[in-house]
Amino acid sequence: MIEEADIDLVLNDLFEVYGYDFTNYARASLKRRISRLFLLDKFPSFAEFRYRLKSDPGYLKRVIEGLTVTVTEMFRDPLFYKALRTEIIPTLAAKPFIRIWHAGCSTGEEVFSMAIVLKEANLLHKSLLYATDLNPQVLEKARRGVFPLVQMKQYSENYIESGGQNDFSAYYTAQYGQVKFDESLAEKMIFSTHNLVSDRSFNEFDLILCRNVLIYFDKQLQERTLNLFDESIGTLGYLALGSKETLNFSSIKAKYRQLNKEKIWRKIG
């Protein structure tokens, strides 16, 4: 059983040795992640786990991958995407240029979903999709736009439920159990590492999506991150969060108005 003090030691190592700051991640979940890694990799003692982490930069990759949750899917929460299609994207159509930021994009499934939505609205040509994550390995996967074939049935159902009217399989070519999404979708994507804990605002956006990332942060880090987003959203721009995340505990709440049921807020102040 891993104790609270052990968690503190590992977090300290990660910061001192590698500069990754996880101290304001939600502790209960972080403890689970560290315990899981410790058990999976069968360390005889916690001291040996720490020694490996500190002395082997190759093992750091595994730890970062183990501590951060990379679960994602295309058109996740289809009704959210339906709201994007019908209520959000049309209000951006008149702009000369549309800038979107996917913060914590993981392996990029939601970025490709957004590109499909924009393409179908005839807006992809004048859009830019910035996609960031702290983990360079997931960004590498996202850049390739290659996903497992087995998931396409679910994604196709999600796509249709989100209001998609094309043949979903027209967007990719399948080979050896993988699918590669159409290059034209990726043309407007810019992938880059960005750490919400330590990095700053880098542009102004019409829409920021950060879904199921804030749940892994404590309230203090959530507040910092939401302020970073607030600095990065233009007036009348939008912020979209995960289905169980909220602005209710944040100081920026007063400047935003939530759109009916979905977790999308518009900056009004």
Partner: protein, 196 residues
């Protein structure tokens, strides 16, 4: 001494259930008296769907406020909380909920073990863990940790459960304090923290 423990000092009750446990809750919730003496958390294996009809259904059976949890909601005594579909439900030391969409545990998300273990860390001996009807082994490991931390364990009487495997598995593999039917569970929860 045991009786003394039973009437004082509990802060939270976590109920975990799988197949056949919604029916139990539909019977249990109307029998709970208001104000509830603890915070009551419910974790159910449920279909992966984001609609909130289960919360509406359970809510319609009680006057006690019932919320489907959103991230960082505070845990308040007297309220009932339902774990949302497709997220693990965790509790932080400062008694706020955290949600987690990482890999399934025991083929389940939410997993009963995950919430039992997290609650055990926060509430120690002031926690009651209750395991209801179900057809798999999720929950037993979590109940064991609750006991290690000094908490109190209840399993649904297997012969009253639609799916007896889960409570039976816990009775065989964890130091269950009481094996109760649904009416007895309601009496037990209503009596918590009340001198008699």
């Amino acid at each position: 001494m045991a009786e003394n423990r039973l009437t004082t000092s509990f802060k939270a009750v976590v109920i975990g259930g799988s197949a056949g446990s919604i029916e139990v809750l539909l019977k249990l919730l109307p029998a709970l008296s208001s104000p509830l003496p603890v915070a009551l958390m419910i974790v159910l294996h449920r279909k992966n769907s984001t609609d909130s009809s289960l919360a509406d259904l359970l809510s319609s059976k009680t006057m006690i406020p019932l919320h489907e949890v959103e991230d960082k909601d505070p845990v308040i005594t007297g309220a009932i909380y339902l774990a949302p579909a497709d997220y693990h439900l965790l509790i932080e030391k400062d008694e706020v909920f955290s949600l987690d969409d990482s890999e399934k545990v025991n083929y389940s998300r939410p997993s009963l073990d995950v919430t039992f273990e997290s609650a055990a860390d926060v509430y120690g001996s002031s926690l009651v863990g209750i395991l209801l009807s179900g057809a798999n082994a999720d929950g037993t490991a979590g109940l064991n940790l609750i006991k290690t931390r000094g908490g109190f364990l209840i399993a649904q009487k297997p012969e009253t459960a639609q799916a007896a495997f889960m409570p039976q598995h816990a009775i065989l593999n964890a130091p269950i304090d009481r094996v109760l039917d649904v009416d007895e569970m309601a009496v037990f929860i209503n009596s918590l923290n009340r001198p008699n």
